[in-house]
Amino acid sequence: MSENKPSIWQRYLSANPVTISFLAILLGFIVGAGVIIFSSADVLHAWSQIFNSPGGILHALKVTFDNVGAAYRAMFTGSVIDPTTFWHALSTGSGWDAALTPLSETLTYAAPLVIISIGVAISFETGLFNIGANGQAILGGIAGTAFGSMIHLPMFLHLPLTLLCGIAAGAFFGLIPGVLKALTGAHEVIVTLMLNYVVAFFLLYSLLSTPLQLPGQANDLSRVILPSAQLPTFFNTATTLRVNWGIVIAIGVVAFGWWFLNRSTMGFDFRVTGANPNAARASGINPKKIIIYVFLISGGLAGLAGVVQVDGTTHSLDGGFLIGSAGIGFTAITVSLLGRNKPINVFWGAILFSALGVGGRIMQAETGIPLDLATIIQSAVVLFVATPVMVQEIFRLREGTVHTIQLNTKGWGS
């Protein structure tokens, strides 16, 4: 390291969190491209024929780029903006619905993802690993649906109480691993993972039994949340624009997360515990109390995410609620690792991964490449983010400020 202050350019090329994140995303897409190439019969066939004709290698390259390009193009146009429909709207003044639908979808899916990711980021920042966010969110969704669909109240009471129900259910469910860890030392990873399976069964159970199941329905479908409890959308419900007040709540949660981690006393205790548990204990912070509060807050936010999802977007539950390809809880883990637990970065990470998910659906519809590609890309991104030294070596970056992410919980408890 030189004594001189590095130039801006040198700083960009050092292993700092922003550069590492961008490069990790790039590597993730390269991995995804590799998966597309090796699973596409067309591409493999083209490569097997490169010696049969003089232009074989060019043809093979073209087929490769066409396939990968089509997939990623569908992902982009499906989640951000489709230039043709956008131009059409711009030139004719009509069709703005269709032009804005991709963005609206991305924001709609981002709302719960932002909220749950802030919750996971708070647990990470304290050195705890809440993989149970998925279950907490589902339970929040169940509680919110039950309250929103079966109780009749005026809207100014009904909507906030429905959201509170979700928060309470998620917090309660977060309390289980928190208390077990604080009292018995049970490793939160196993407990929360197992609770996810328990919740999956509970979701089916509640959708197939009397109070919550849609009356007259034999399938796993819930009652519909009453209009007085639904999160209002920004636009007329006749349009395809589903973006709703959930995204505003999400921005509020980001602000809360920033305030909590950076300005509040408890957040300070959390971060001290996360940075060095022994120092925290020595300075009089009760680690058991911290563990329980972390899971309470993290679970509460996950529950809020669940209720925002059902209350703003789907309005009723089905058996696949929030489970999807890998579950919103897993995506939240990747998002908060990508954002390195900084609420504002987490927000942008959530928008990106939400776009990846929304675009992945369009990609599946248009090119037949399964949606799971989005999850593969996400996992790859987070693997690289969690291993900054590797990214640094691949791109030959200078030493920087980034550190390998380490959790506090080592071994398997008491």
Partner: protein, 432 residues
């Protein structure tokens, strides 16, 4: 009895006093449950039939054993009293050893009481007999997969690498195993293919954990998700259009002459597929290897105190790489064993079995024999969840499905008492 008395404060308890009391309390609660729900839930005239002959006798039937017809209420009362006695004994005497063995005994009594109650004549169940052999044989499949998984975990964790990716190794091994088994119709080839894929995944874990000292739990969880979605992806792009690669072949049972004729034990232990016998070898080899050989001593030294191990010339990273790759291979074979059980590959069909295997190895205190016992308990519980539904038990199948997971939570929450992982488990090794 020896005349040498040990001072009280030297007794090394497996389970602390307070926790022993709690476990004793749980045992008494279970006894009372047998009494109130099972014994008095059956009419005094009801009888239950317990049979011992397997329903499926394709591999050759064992010597037949007569059916046992018992009065439902009376036998449940007896079971409850035995359980109550054990529970009270635990609370009063606070034994220093074998608290968990007592708990296991009461759990078995509880299961027996449950069976007697579910199949009582005049009850809701369509059949009023319970086939003990069949239950055990049904549970043996899941148990086998769990044993493979926990061996995979022990192999890595004894060397200080947390292998939370067992689930991913299962899925990877199962995917490749299904393809190779369908294509070649040979489970020997499938086993090798599964082992190679598992080893590859083990290498990835080792690469990130050892070379880059990444957090092993994060890498493990990410690997599971990646393999999960990759197998989903390939299942849709490859197995769905080419169904000849996912035909659902299963290996034949290989009866061991004479031994397979023993009632109950024969069908359970000596008339199974090749993966079962491979498992015996694996458990035996690992118990011996880890605790009786020089290699095992080195592995455990690396897992307990890598710096000390390095100071006597053991190549810490080399040992960790080798064990993690070997553990991954065992996990991959476990996946093939799961395919052998299940037939066709379905995305995500291991449904958390890898994590339960992880809990089993913790329950078994990082010892192969202990993990086997734990796997049997988990296997029985899982079977119970699916098996009880056929008896029209008045509990919904979704609630029963939660059982194995709740028991896993109970186990890792220290129902077992003090567990001590290898001291360097999960801690990246930094060469000075």
């Amino acid at each position: 009895m020896t005349t040498v008395t040990t001072p009280v404060n030297v007794i090394r308890r497996d389970t602390p006093v307070g926790r022993t009391r709690v476990i004793g309390g749980i045992m008494i609660a279970m006894a009372l449950f047998i009494m109130w729900v099972f014994a008095f839930g059956a009419s005094s005239k009801a009888t239950s039939i317990i049979t011992f002959n397997p329903l499926n006798t394709s591999g050759g039937a064992p010597w037949t054993l007569g059916n046992l017809t018992v009065p439902s209420r009376l036998s449940d009362v007896v079971l409850a009293l035995i359980a109550l006695g054990t529970g009270i004994e635990t609370i009063v005497r606070i034994p220093a050893k074998r608290v968990m063995a007592r708990f296991g005994f009461v759990s078995v009594l509880f299961l027996l009481g449950l069976f007697v109650w579910t199949v009582r004549s005049g009850g809701p169940s369509p059949t009023n007999f319970i086939d003990l052999t069949d239950i055990l044989v049904n549970a043996s499949g899941i148990t086998m997969v769990l044993i493979y998984g926990s061996m995979a975990g022990i192999m890595c964790e004894r060397a200080g690498v947390v292998n939370i990716a067992i689930e991913g190794q299962f899925l990877g091994g199962a995917f490749v195993g299904a393809i190779v088994a369908s294509a070649t119709n040979s489970f020997v080839f499938a086993t090798f293919a599964g082992a190679i894929v598992g080893a590859l995944l083990g290498w990835v874990l080792a690469f990130f954990a050892i070379r880059y000292r990444s957090d092993q739990v994060i890498v493990g969880v990410v690997l599971v998700t990646m393999i999960g979605s990759l197998t989903n992806f390939l299942n849709l792009t490859f197995l769905t259009p080419y169904q000849q690669f996912n035909t659902g072949v299963t290996p034949n049972s290989i009866p061991i002459p004479l031994l397979d004729k023993i009632p109950i034990i024969g069908p359970l232990l000596f008339n199974q597929n090749m993966f079962f016998y491979l498992m015996y070898l694996l458990v035996g080899a690992m118990s011996f290897g880890l605790f009786k050989t020089k290699w095992g001593l080195r592995v455990r030294a690396v897992g307990e105190h890598p710096q000390a191990a390095a100071s006597v010339g053991i190549r810490v990273k080399g040992v960790r790489y080798f064990n993690t790759i070997l553990g991954g291979a065992i996990g991959g074979v476990g996946g093939v064993a799961f395919i052998a059980l299940h037939g066709q590959f379905n995305p995500g069909f291991t449904s958390g079995l890898g994590y339960i295997a992880l809990a089993a190895l913790i329950f078994g205190r990082w010892r192969p024999a202990g993990a086997v016992v734990a796997s049997i308990i988990f296997g029985l519980t899982s079977m119970l969840a699916s098996g009880l539904q056929s008896f029209n038990v008045p509990v919904s199948s979704e609630i029963l499905g939660m059982f194995p997971y709740i028991i896993t939570i109970a186990v890792v929450s220290g129902l077992i008492g003090r567990v001590r992982a290898p001291a360097a488990d999960g801690i990246p090794y930094k060469q000075d």
